[in-house]
């Protein structure tokens, strides 16, 4: 991994983490998670739990590499995935290579531009903030669970003991005070970068080009395309393999994009039902 880590262009890149313009107006903020420099320390998971008072997820041994968190959920708003692949990595000292490649990636809510959770929420508990992020208002949520089934990433979940749905808020409280989210601040390698979405996108494209030039052909951006099925992510990623390897959907589509089709089919079926009822009376004497 020496070919990738310790990259001065990343560390020195200075991004303004203030969530407001100098005139006080809010900016669209997000994450760029560069998994090529993730070391799997899970500081993001811990920092998130501490700041947001997220309850424990139970202590269980999964046997899946170093990952005992398992997946993102109501009690894990960051989840570090560990993937061991039998593939050699280019290292300067051939003796140091052991033919094994480790992929580590910190998953989080994508804060979709077209968010299914927000569309389907029947109470208006989910809303889009002034920073273009998606947040659940806990004083409104009545735990109907619709958003849980609607999310194409399996991010939202219902806390059984509490009854409501919980997910990453992109540290809404901290953003209002121009502070970095807890996970980004705790990340020791700057694998998690926080900043204005447009600046992060430029940085991500630069980074993927750099990696390609250095021979890391696997590097790709995930969620950076503003024309993807959910209109782009507010929290996007640089991955080193296909998204599904990390437990992410390769082509997520917001279900409400096809809502017109669905209401159309329902209208046709409802019409057929009305006609069927009328037909049942054909030939009946009044």
């Amino acid at each position: 991994m020496t070919a990738i880590s310790g990259d001065p262009t990343i560390i020195s890149h200075d991004i303004d983490v203030a969530s407001h313009h100098p005139d006080g107006s809010p900016r669209a903020m997000g994450f760029f998670t560069d998994t090529s420099i993730c070391i799997g320390c899970k500081a993001c998971e811990v920092a998130c739990k501490e700041w947001n008072l997220v309850p424990d997820d139970g202590l269980s041994f999964t046997g899946d590499s170093y990952d005992n968190t398992g997946s993102i959920g109501c009690n894990s708003w960051r989840h570090v995935a560990f993937i061991e692949q039998g593939r050699p990595v280019a290292v300067s000292d051939p003796e140091a290579g052991d033919g094994l490649r480790w992929l580590m990636s910190s998953d989080v809510c994508k804060h979709c531009a077209h968010a299914a959770c927000l569309d389907v929420c029947p109470t208006g508990a989910l809303f889009r903030t002034e920073f273009d992020t998606v947040v659940v208002q806990q004083d409104i949520c009545n735990g109907c669970g619709y958003c849980v089934s609607a999310c194409p990433f399996g991010v939202l979940d219902k806390r059984r003991e509490d009854g409501r749905v919980w997910k990453c808020t992109l540290c809404y409280d901290r953003l209002r005070g121009d502070l970095e989210p807890a996970c980004a601040q705790a990340c020791p390698t700057k694998s998690i970068q926080f900043g204005p979405v447009d600046e992060l996108l430029a940085l991500a494209r630069e980074r993927v080009d750099t990696l390609h030039q250095r021979g890391v052909g696997d590097a790709r951006l995930y969620g950076a395309d503003r024309d993807n099925g959910v209109g782009g992510f507010g929290a996007f990623f640089l991955l080193l393999d296909q998204p599904e390897v990390y437990g992410l959907p390769p082509d997520p589509v917001v279900s409400t994009r096809r809502l017109g089709q669905m209401w159309g089919a329902a209208a046709a079926a409802a019409g057929a039902l009305a006609l069927g009822v009328a037909a049942a009376f054909l030939g009946e004497r009044r």
Binding site: G145, S149, A265, G276, A280
Partner: protein
């Protein structure tokens, strides 16, 4: 399902957090909706005996439904938060209002009918409930299809027809069950038509879905699907051939109702089943990318 790459085979989506209450509501809501329409039609045709009974069935369905829905909420005491907003992007929001309006209209109509008062108000509310009926019977299909759950979302074109037909069969069966045979002919016909269309629509759905439709017929669903088809077909047949005799109408009606309940359970369970295996989500998405239809995430 064919092999897809995944993260330790873990589900990529969260399963529906809905309890079996919701499967029961898919049945009771559909029954109530189609019964309200049947009642309104019977009244227009001067069949007051059938109209009165179909209205009672609709009211029964509408009395049972809200508790099923409210009990399923994580915070039942906050059920009224649904009434803060009306969002067309949320089928659950639209459905809440349709259900509330149907309940109100059917309740008032039944009250007038039973007390024999205010016939004009009764006709108006009965007509309103009848008009809302088809919406009540089909919106639930949109509700479950408008999710990331593969078995539901992929079936989005057929599910409304499956639900409409199943609701018609249930409403006809329930009305024939409680109505004297001489007045119940339209109910028996509705039952038979609904059953026929239901069997056809589920067949079309399963054929079109192919591999993606496996959750409708594998695992525990193998039994409930067979029960749904068998009970619906047998009940509808009994209703059509011998429905003028009370015992046959009762047995046939119960059989069709049980078949409809099994069908709703099958659809409900297929959703959870399709979430457990990540291949149902990843497979079609990866195929879209490979066919060049999408550049992916």
């Amino acid at each position: 399902m064919t092999e897809a790459r995944s993260y330790y085979g873990r589900p990529l989506l969260k399963g529906p957090v809905w309890e079996p209450d919701i499967a029961a509501y898919l049945f009771t809501g559909g029954l109530a909706g189609a019964s309200a329409t049947l009642a309104a039609a019977a009244r227009r045709r001067g069949n007051d005996v059938l109209a009165r009974r179909a209205l009672m069935v609709a009211l029964a369905g509408l009395i049972v439904s809200p508790p099923l829905l409210i009990r399923d909420l994580g915070r039942p005491a906050r059920f009224h938060h649904m009434l803060r907003v009306l969002k067309v992007t949320s089928p659950m929001s639209v459905g809440t209002w349709v259900l509330s309006a149907s309940g109100l209209a059917t309740g008032v109509a039944t009250g007038c009918e039973v007390l024999g008062v205010m016939p004009r108000l009764r006709t108006a509310t009965e007509t309103a409930a009848g008009a809302l009926g088809p919406a009540l019977a089909t919106y639930t299909a949109v509700l479950i299809a408008d999710t990331a759950v593969p078995a539901w979302h992929e079936a989005r074109f057929e599910l409304p027809f499956v639900f409409a037909a199943s609701s018609a069969a249930s409403a006809g069966a329930a009305a024939a069950l409680v109505t004297p045979a001489a007045s119940a002919r339209p109910a028996r016909r509705l039952c038979a038509m609904g059953a026929l269309v239901e069997l056809a629509a589920t067949g079309v759905m399963e054929r079109r879905l192919g591999e993606a439709g496996q959750p409708y017929s594998t695992g525990g669903n193998a039994v409930s699907r067979r029960l749904a088809r068998g009970l619906t077909a047998a009940g509808a047949l009994a209703m059509t051939l011998t429905g003028r005799r009370r015992p046959a109408a009762i047995l046939g009606g119960l059989s069709v109702l049980a078949g409809a309940a099994c069908l709703r359970w099958t659809v409900f369970a297929a959703g959870a089943h399709s979430v457990r295996d990540p291949a149902y989500a990843v497979g079609p998405q990866r195929a879209r990318i490979e066919r060049g239809e999408s550049r992916g995430g």
